[in-house]
Symmetry: C2
DNA sequence: TCATTTTGTGGAAGCGTTTGCATTCGGCAT
DNA sequence: ATGCCGAATGCAAACGCTTCCACAAAATGA
């Protein structure tokens, strides 16, 4: 292997600075003590030689790799792309590399990713997004002894960044109820993520709870599901709204994209939003502003950054704030123009 | 460092299989010759011990790291998230890791990413997305001697996956012209990507060319720009359509998201699409189907996968097909219901 | 059957850092 | 002056693989 072409190594720097390789390592990494004068000499030499440390060698020797892995189902859907964006920015800021493992290619891949790729490769820590693991799988990961932080888990006994799916769903539903709606449908996420992530059904639970609490019945045909996309929401809403027996005046959608699809479907059927139909979503998607969608905003990029923050704490052996273990990531209720009192209703307006 | 907890090493496997470490390495990596019988013994031993090779050690020793880097401006926008998704899937399929560098955090970061992070860390190759480099920067990258493949470049003398921006823009414009439109506006991408990527203006050039070729004038107020989002398109289109002097009957949008925003703006202004206004986009975005948008679909996920294919060839020292150097990634013209003859026009219909 | 390849395997020297331990070198108190 | 002590530095042993080289064994050709 030609080494001449491959840039200077630490020994060349050492020679040029007139010190030993050990000192160069200490001067550049900040570990151990080095006099100010030597440090400067070393830095100068490194600069002149265009020396860049070999992460592989460094990792091998030190056991640290300044590289964290993120396991994410896909990067093509809005929520995940935002999480990734947030995490990537935070990591680059902290000087860490980010290795991406997307598990979208079938469940077989998921397993191999977890077992082989994370087992003890070159990661200092792992962030899992929307991943549900068996106790056994989790145990295997823990055995590796590297920090794990989850987003949208939940992984038991693991610091987790997550919103309070149940409560915000109940809140969204209650908002419709408080406006006077009684016939409220719910379009939830389909099986798509159910496999890894219990989100869909938790949101439905919140909806059911709020309905029950208000003494409202939930008719079976009010429960629909859709993939997390505008097209999916459009199709589901169209079926729902075309059903004369349903007769809903409000729809709580598990995601903004679904809600936007719902609004479009309503428009196409000649229904006005919010006069004839109220629609509320969850997410804070970019599109929600354009459509005047009332929603509960959840800032996924912030969640990604928060997870990175937790990981970095863990790596410094600072235990992460109990908040991540017990609390929820904050959400924001954004009232826009897609929700109003139901048609023909004369009661108080929304708070 | 406790080694007992850290899983078996290659020597343990060697001992268990009754061979030398060298043989284990050869058996597991497929380099060098090993008898079938030994290979099986080794694989069995490795399996029983749950042995997973240390990539750091392997990379250090061999100079190969089975890890490729992808430099991408952001992952939050549709196009980029799709490219990344496509690349990530292809890489995982090939058994490579993917390290993500997003350069969205200001130009300072971009430089450090390129010089420090790629210079000779732990990457076998680099895929750059929508990145424009100076000759000097490119030269620095080349010096490293690792394969580089670009998406949407163009980086001179670098295998590049890209669509023919100019031609498809002209094609889209011509489609409107052939329907009988003469007052055709263009909403292009803003400065957003212009910095790294000349895309915005290339699409405008295609538009101008088609207009000129048809002998049509382009009025200055017909040229608008927008960020690549529905909201951006909405705002830009609203301003354009509200301008009485403009009087356009067709709009060529540089992206589907902009086009969707345009359709929404038109609706809000009481204009029917396509009866009063024809709209055409570029992208093949998920939303385009929902809105019946005529568009030129460009399959960014496929582009990501194609770039990975090229990188893998390069790594095998198979020079990549000349197609990537000279040809264009295929696009598909999808005619839907957002384009029609202009209002009051009685001519032939579209081909 | 003997010389010549080919194949399979082991020994050991790296790969480029980090770090424990030993050593040196200046003070500084005595 | 004489010790002492901490700060600064060097030495050399890892870190866990890959691969060059040598060598033995098996296969091939004459």
């Amino acid at each position: 292997m030609e080494r001449s072409a491959r840039g200077a190594g630490i020994r060349e720097v050492a020679a040029r600075a007139g010190v030993s390789a050990a000192t160069v390592s200490r001067a550049l990494s900040g570990n151990g003590r080095v006099s100010e004068k030597t440090r400067e000499k070393v830095q100068a030499a490194a600069g002149e030689l265009g020396f860049v440390i070999s992460y592989n060698a460094s990792s091998l020797a030190s056991g640290r790799s300044r590289n964290i892995g993120i396991v994410i189902p896909t990067v093509g859907r809005w929520y995940f792309s935002q999480v990734l964006e947030g995490a990537a920015s935070a990591l680059i800021e902290a000087g860490y590399d980010l290795t991406l493992y997307n598990t979208s290619d079938g469940p077989g891949h998921r397993e191999s990713v977890l077992k082989e790729m994370l087992q003890r490769k070159r990661l200092d820590a792992v962030i899992t997004v929307a991943l549900r693991l068996t106790e056994e799988e989790l145990e295997q990961l823990r055995e590796v002894g590297k920090p794990i932080v989850a987003i949208g888990g939940p992984l038991p006994d693991t610091p987790t960044v997550r919103v309070d799916e149940f409560s915000i769903s109940a809140l969204a539903t209650r908002h419709l109820i408080s406006l006077g709606h009684t016939r409220i449908a719910h379009i939830g996420g389909g099986e798509e993520l159910e496999r890894d992530f219990r989100m869909g059904s938790t949101r439905q639970d919140g909806y059911r709870s709020a309905m029950a609490e208000a003494g409202l019945a939930v008719e079976p045909q009010w429960l629909r599901s859709s993939v997390f996309s505008v097209a999916g929401g459009f199709a589901a809403a169209k079926a729902l709204l075309a059903d004369p027996a349903a007769g809903v005046t409000g729809i709580f959608c598990a995601a903004d994209e679904i809600a936007v699809g719902t609004i479009l479907a309503a428009r196409e059927l000649g229904l006005r939003v919010p006069e004839d139909l109220s629609v509320i979503g969850i997410d804070g998607h970019e599109l929600s502003a354009v459509f005047g969608l009332t929603t509960i905003s959840q800032d996924p990029a912030g969640q990604g950054a928060a997870a990175v923050g937790a990981v970095l704490s863990l790596l410094r052996n600072q235990p992460v704030g109990g908040e991540l273990l017990t609390g929820f990531y904050p959400t924001e209720f954004v009232v826009r123009s897609s929700t109003a009192v139901p048609p023909g209703f004369q009661g108080r307006t929304a708070p």
